[in-house]
Amino acid sequence: MALINIENLTRDYRVGFGGFKKMRALDGLNLTIEKGEIFGFLGPNGSGKTTTIKLLLGLIKPTSGKITIFGKSPYDTRIKKKIGYLPESPYFYDYLTAYEFLYFCTQVLETKEDRIDELLKLVGMEEARNIPMGKFSRGMLQRIGVAQALLGEPELVILDEPMGGLDPIGRKEVRDIIVNLRKEGKTVFFSSHILSDAEMICDRVGILIRGKLVSLGQMEKILSEEIESIEITVKNISDTVRQELQKLALHYLPSDNKVMFVVPSEEEKDKIINYVVNNKGTIVSVVPRRKTLEEYFMTFIH
């Protein structure tokens, strides 16, 4: 059974003077999230990712459409115990220390405080335990945010831009945490506009552009379908052979005694390999160049 089931979800906002104009933030979203996957919800700023997440959490009401989480409505407080959430760019309570804030969260969740120290360690914030959060840097706030999301041992973790404000080390730590969650059997749904991170850890991605879901699928599949070019590096070929091969390639790069040919597809690759082998040359390497997720993404932006 799908953990999250979104059917034809639409959300409009009233804008302008008197609120007569309507702006459609989300347009007919259909999406299911399965248990145990890491789902990356991608899109440029303003595409409707945060709106979707707020709808999932019952913070706002849909204009039309239906959502079920764990089989129930987002407004049902029973399921909220199973969800951990981190909003985008959070601040917290200036005058509370990190520990006091997490303690407050455990009180609301009605769970035990034992997890607090463990989680502080996980996000690398044990030393800042007793410092008022008003003094925290952006990165520190982000880490506490992750900690509070995991407090209740949630089955579903929803993160809105979890890498925001983190340096490369921090981003790796968050990626590791997310991957670990999957190992523990948990489900992670996160939104991001940093595509390289998503590429590294997601099982599935959905791309949201201006409120519409333009692409949805397995990460591997998306990337593998989009092979841009193949780089073949060879050596020990004569000039004549090289000249022949040049005709098949998009371009080539000589260096030392090696030559690298860049071909547009598998067809040319096979031809070159055969030709080289037949002419007693050596294949050094064959590297398919995939489009990065970013390049794939850009195709939707026109």
Partner: protein, 253 residues
Amino acid sequence: MRIRAVLFNTFIESMRDKILIILIVLGFLLMASSKIIQPLALGEEHKIIKDLGLSAINLITVLIAIFVGGRLIYKEIERRTIYIVLAKPIRRWEFILGKYLGLLLVLFVSLLILAVGFSLVLLLMNIPGDFTLLLPLLLLIFQLSIITALAIFFSTFVTPIGAAIFTFILYFIGHLTRDLKVFGMISKNPVIKILTDFFYYILPNLSNFNIKGMVVHNVPISLSVIVFTIIYGILYTAGILFFSAVIFQRKDF
């Protein structure tokens, strides 16, 4: 348990806010200034000091209720802490109730601190008095409970400035309701009579809670009036909070 968590959270957040300290110190200063008027008061300094003390406590706590109350919900939205809390298994009405009770606790503690200061002033200046002087403070708590509820009510759908202004206006009008009724009684126009009566009963009659003058002049106050006034305070507050919860339930964040 959850309500209590929000309550204490709100209490601690507010108590550590510097604005509160400033207001309380102001209250003490006002009371201490009564020493200055002693030579000028021509034998009436006891009355003046009592008036000043009770009025200072009254004013400061009302200001806290209006200005801190108006900002309470807004601050959570601005800091996005409300997203985190509401995403957890807490009902929306529990959240509002927790915030309200937290602020009420802040007011109660501030009032206690100021009342102790007031008692000290009375003791140091050898002003005779008994516990009836503290009766206005008891009713003040319930007036504050209404004002705070109004501040929170407005803060669910307007900005903090707007909430503070509307709450202040209702505070102001709330003390003029008696004049409104009298106006209606004098008028010969039946429409005005009905209107003034309607507003008299609908608006919060805050003048019910003002017994400062009576206490300072040693006018006996009937216990039953006090009890009924307290019940009025509780009931009116509950009504406002109910409507606040309804609005808050339907609110989009």
